[in-house]
């Protein structure tokens, strides 16, 4: 065997004071634990939020009719009297409905856009639901359950994770609305639109996790909705599912290029949530760096104590011919040893904590967040970052104290000057 003596000495130094070494490894492990756990738990939470918001309650991308920015009258007046002479306003009482025309062709064009995996059409209009003397403003969404489920995973909100078949007079309502109306599956409600009024049977009660949706939302079949709102064969919009969330941006701009419609993606719809996530990411990064810094200072201290306590030995080594590089190497090997074991300890601990959370998830306010509970799941990037930071700080503190060790004058140390 031709093991370098630096390795041998490093090993001996570490095993000399097992308690001391274990404490360093444990300390590093805890730092790794914190550095993995904080970003992981935050990103797990926000992943769940996004999952709830985007995957289960809205489409990645939606295609709407183009809104006229200004009325024709507006434009005519402007061209006649000049820009500054005309004050334009929107009359909110005036029905502004415009439906999506030529949806078959649009859907076909959307479907063949790269990155798109499913397209569904839907109607979304306002109505009133009443039972007895309770009236509730409601968004009525007309869908083809099969088709729509492929775009938005609403199935998970329904009993048995299945969206029921919706007949001509069937409606599915949220559980809060059902409670408010005091109604159960199979009973009837009145649904009034500006054009019609009908009695509908509650086919199913869903639970979306969103307060508003659970209180003010009803699903009916697409055809029924078209009749209720007198839309003929038109729909309100198309919902599009992309291969993955991240592609929504490129897909939506590709779609914009292909059609004269308004295209929105989930990032537009969840801008405030995304801004919040960005802030939280900044904070967790900051905490990570802070933990790494504090741990580095601690480690550097421990290492320099190490060096201080071993000054005489280091001087002896130098006296019998060890080079400065060898002294640094010994400290570096010790640091790497501590790093390997410490990160293994930290990662094992954090995986243990996560496994525990899977069994006992955190409960959070469902009304606020739309999710009732969440558990931290392992985020590979967090592990990578934490382990790298740990390595950097160990190497840094070893090199830092290594420099001090190398500066030792053997004679001064040995002869106690």
């Amino acid at each position: 065997m031709r093991l370098p003596y630096e390795l041998h000495l490093a090993y001996r130094n570490l095993t000399r004071h097992p308690g001391h070494t274990a404490a360093m490894m444990g300390g590093l492990g805890l730092a790794v634990l914190v550095m993995v756990y904080i970003p992981s738990t935050m990103s797990s939470f926000y992943d769940d939020l996004i999952d709830r918001a985007v995957e289960q309650n809205s489409a990645h991308v939606t295609i709407w009719p183009m809104e006229k920015t200004r009325g024709q009258m507006d434009n005519a007046l402007r061209s006649r009297y000049g820009r500054s002479a005309v004050l334009s306003f929107t009359d909110r009482t005036f029905p502004r409905h415009r439906n999506l025309t030529g949806r078959q062709a649009l859907a076909a064009r959307a479907a063949e856009t790269p990155g798109v995996v499913a397209v569904a059409s839907f109607v979304k209009e306002d109505a009133t639901i009443s039972r007895g003397n309770v009236n509730l403003g409601t968004v009525i969404e007309g869908i083809k359950p099969e088709q729509y489920s492929r775009v938005v995973n609403i199935a998970v909100h329904f009993p048995q994770n299945r969206v029921p078949k919706l007949g001509p007079s069937d409606i599915a309502i949220g559980f809060r609305m059902a409670e408010k109306l005091g109604i159960h599956t199979g009973e009837h409600v009145h649904v009034a639109t500006p054009k019609t009024h009908r009695l509908m049977r509650v086919k199913a009660i869903f639970r979306s996790g969103y307060y508003d949706k659970d209180m003010h939302h009803g699903f009916v079949s697409l055809r029924t909705a078209q009749r209720m709102f007198g839309m003929g064969n038109e729909v309100s919009a198309l919902a599009v599912r992309c291969r993955n969330l991240e592609e929504a941006g490129t897909v939506s701009s590709a779609l914009e290029g292909r059609m004269h419609n308004k295209v929105r993606n989930w990032m537009d719809d969840n801008a405030s949530l995304l801004a919040e996530i960005a802030t939280v990411n900044r904070v967790t990064t900051f905490i990570d760096v802070l933990v790494a810094l504090v741990a580095s200072v601690g480690m550097a201290n421990v290492f320099s104590m190490f060096v201080l306590n071993r000054q005489k030995e280091l001087a002896i080594l130098r006296a019998v011919g060890a080079s400065r590089a060898s002294l640094k190497m010994i400290l570096l090997i010790e640091a790497m040893f501590i790093w390997v074991v410490g990160t293994i300890i930290g990662c094992t601990l954090v995986l243990g904590v996560m496994a525990y959370e899977q069994k006992h998830p955190y409960t959070v306010s469902e009304e606020t967040y739309g999710i009732g509970s969440y558990a931290t799941h392992p985020v590979p990037e967090a592990f990578l970052v934490a382990c790298t930071l740990a390595a950097v700080m160990m190497v840094a503190s070893a090199l830092w104290s290594g420099r001090r060790a190398a500066k030792l004058n053997p004679a001064e140390v040995i002869f106690g000057r």
Partner: protein
């Protein structure tokens, strides 16, 4: 000449500047055994530290094997010290967490000799100094005399051209110190190791072939008591009885 000390001067700065070594000139041939004697504070250790390259002179130079050691670069100096010099100091400079054998093998391993070869050599040397049954003991588990012998074995592991010993018998009882000095004598006579030893105790200088007396940083006498390399029979050393 193995060692040539030329016009060596050493000052120490500080509150009261001190002129410790004054124009020292000394030559040492191969296979010589020189004892440096003199009162406390004469500058013996200072001289030895400079020769062993652990300290730098203020003026003059030290040639070992015709190499001006104080003008070597950091790296070359480490190598030189490791390969050609062995030292035994009055404090035992052993690594407390290594066994006797590992301590002895250390300079050999620093010079990148294979582990097994280094260990075998260490074992042989420890046997020669009478510690065959203490190979796996740590310094804390050895007596002062035993530690000093481990130091000696370590000093010899790389077969140094020059062995420097600074009061190797200090703090030891007379019996033990005699044993150490006898061992040094045998090393010199039987293996032809060149030795430069500092000692306070005149009676221990009998073993040496040459005695240099030191006073106030100057050599005041230099006498040869035996011819160089008086014993040429290079038998294996018998372990000393200590």
């Amino acid at each position: 000449m193995l060692l040539k000390v030329e016009n060596l001067d050493k000052h120490f700065g500080g509150a009261v500047p001190l002129h410790i070594l004054r124009d020292i000139n000394l030559e040492l041939a191969e296979r010589e055994f020189l004892a440096l004697v003199g009162p406390s504070g004469a500058g013996k250790t200072t001289l030895l530290n400079i020769i062993s390259t652990l300290d730098a002179p203020t003026g003059g130079r030290v040639l070992i094997k015709d190499v001006d050691v104080h003008h070597l670069g950091q790296h070359a100096l480490n190598r030189f010290r490791n390969r050609h010099l062995g030292f035994v100091f009055q404090d035992d400079l052993l690594l407390p967490h290594l066994t006797a054998m590992e301590n002895v093998a250390l300079p050999a391993r620093i010079s990148r000799r294979p582990t097994r070869q280094a260990s075998r050599r260490a074992e042989e040397l420890l046997e020669q100094v009478g510690l065959a049954d203490r190979l796996k003991h740590r310094p804390g588990e050895l007596s002062g005399g035993q530690r000093q012998r481990v130091n000696l074995a370590r000093a010899l592991v790389n077969e140094p051209a020059l062995l420097l010993a600074d009061e190797p018998t200090a703090r030891l009882d007379q019996e033990t110190s005699r044993g150490i000095v006898q061992l040094l004598g045998e090393l010199n006579e039987q293996l032809g190791v060149t030795i430069l030893m500092v000692t306070h105790e005149r009676e221990l200088t009998d073993r040496a072939g040459r005695v240099v007396e030191f006073l106030d940083g100057r050599i005041i006498s230099d006498r040869r008591t035996k011819p160089v390399g008086s014993a040429s029979n290079r038998k294996a050393l018998q372990p000393a009885n200590m």
